[in-house]
Symmetry: C2
Subunit: 275 residues, 2 copies
């Protein structure tokens, strides 16, 4: 039986990059959880002595500070800089980009609209870069009673759906004279979905790896199940069953955005052993 | 019977303004038809000796040159300026605006997309202001195989529908990193439609004035007919019939964007006479 990984799966570029940075920053401290994956954070602590602290006060006695993938607020960054910390920036470049856009546009007199969740660390960081009016919304309706300037710049949280973003922009076009849109959506999740679609169309059995409560992993499983009825969603290698692979020619594998490569590797090794 | 005009009807701001300018420019020559209404152009010729010429060569021996509402190309304007003509600009300000946006954006390195009809004089004039790449399209599909830069500025012909413009922008958002949208749609037509809707909801009889081949007038008639079954589309006062107004309390009146006020006045006088 052949085993084939989806052409795009698991960790996105920004997460992979952040982990590499953390691995190269032994004994460092990450300010906020580096990524949203506790297994990886535990591994970094055990293997590289990279700790996680969550408030600016706790950082006081630390020197080597790693900034998480989602970024932090401009004022927190300033405090760390003023304290002459050794700052290692693992902010995803796809997040740094909207931060600088928001700063630049608000300096130029644009009102800033952010399409995203005001409670998400990424959005908290991005909005902090505005020097003028900033509105964080999840729908056009939330802008209905807001007073907007004639010129509006719009950015999106990196993980939003483009269709929803387009709807928001369509509304803004009817409200103001100039809308300056920056497409800041990261398409990693979308790419994982497209890749699982392609692979499950050809595979005889599909293994989707990721937390049972991970919504993006569940989404991948739903897509794969439609195209390949023998699709299984597992968290680790212990769940694999020999009978799944009987008389199969091609086994496809994909994983959610929060699944580290080492878990996927373990699963592939186990499959090779049992078939 | 009460007679009430729709709160918005007939000539738009730009057309009214151009006619006033022409009336104040006795013996002048308009370069291209001032507006798309031959009756008005004849009236300006008869009452103010304002002639219409259509090519730049014919302008040679003229001094007082009136620029039409739709504007002209940058190069034609330059020729007239180089010839030291007395240039009277009747270009609608809603058209001058996209001209300057196109010039400014293309100078700043944006590719320019114009949502409009490449054969329309307004669009011909507007696109001539680009110093870089410019694409004139009526749908997203026309951009499918075009090579676009990372930054695109978009403007619309002033008379387009906002819904179609939004669709085009939605497509562009998936293609390029920055889309800078200027809402250059003139809402005069839309306002006329909204006003006729409101009035025909209350009126017992509706009179819609405008050319039988005028599509925006026909549109007004369709809207009014839905809400007031006794709706009539006429071109001039001779078509009015006394029986239309029997036992009516409120007569509503509207007119297409190419209908001069003096035609409407004649109709109102005739109605007052026959009821």
């Amino acid at each position: 039986m052949k085993i084939e990984l989806a052409s795009s799966y698991g960790f996105c570029f920004g997460v992979k990059r952040a982990i590499k940075i953390a691995e190269n920053s032994k004994d460092g401290v990450t300010y906020g959880e580096l990524i949203h994956n506790s297994e990886e954070i535990r591994r970094l602590k055990e293997n590289f002595n990279v700790k996680t602290l969550n408030t600016i006060d706790e950082m006081k006695n630390e020197n080597k500070v790693i900034i998480r993938t989602h970024g932090i607020t401009k004022s927190d960054l300033k405090i760390l800089k003023d304290q002459n910390k050794n700052i290692i920036d693992a902010t995803c470049p796809f997040v740094t980009k909207p931060q600088s856009i928001v700063e630049n546009m608000s300096e130029k007199g644009y009102d800033v609209v952010i399409f995203g969740d005001i409670n998400h660390p990424e959005v908290k960081g991005v909005m902090s870069y505005s020097v003028g009016n900033v509105f964080v919304v999840l729908s056009a309706a939330e802008l209905e009673n807001k007073k907007l300037g004639k010129k509006v710049a719009v950015i999106s949280q990196t993980t939003k759906k483009i269709e929803d973003y387009i709807n928001l922009v369509g509304y803004l076009m009817t409200r103001v004279k100039e809308v300056r849109i920056f497409n800041t959506i990261c398409n990693a999740t979308l790419e994982n979905q497209e890749a699982v679609r392609e692979l499950s169309n050809r595979a005889d059995v599909m293994i989707i790896v990721g937390g049972k409560n991970s919504s993006n992993t569940k989404q991948l499983h739903i897509i794969s199940k439609i195209l390949c009825k023998d699709s299984y969603h597992i968290e680790n290698e212990n769940e694999l069953k020999k009978e799944w692979f009987l008389d199969k020619n091609l086994c496809g594998i994909s994983a959610g955005a929060s699944t580290p490569d080492w878990i996927i590797k373990k699963i592939i090794e186990k499959i090779k052993k049992i078939v």
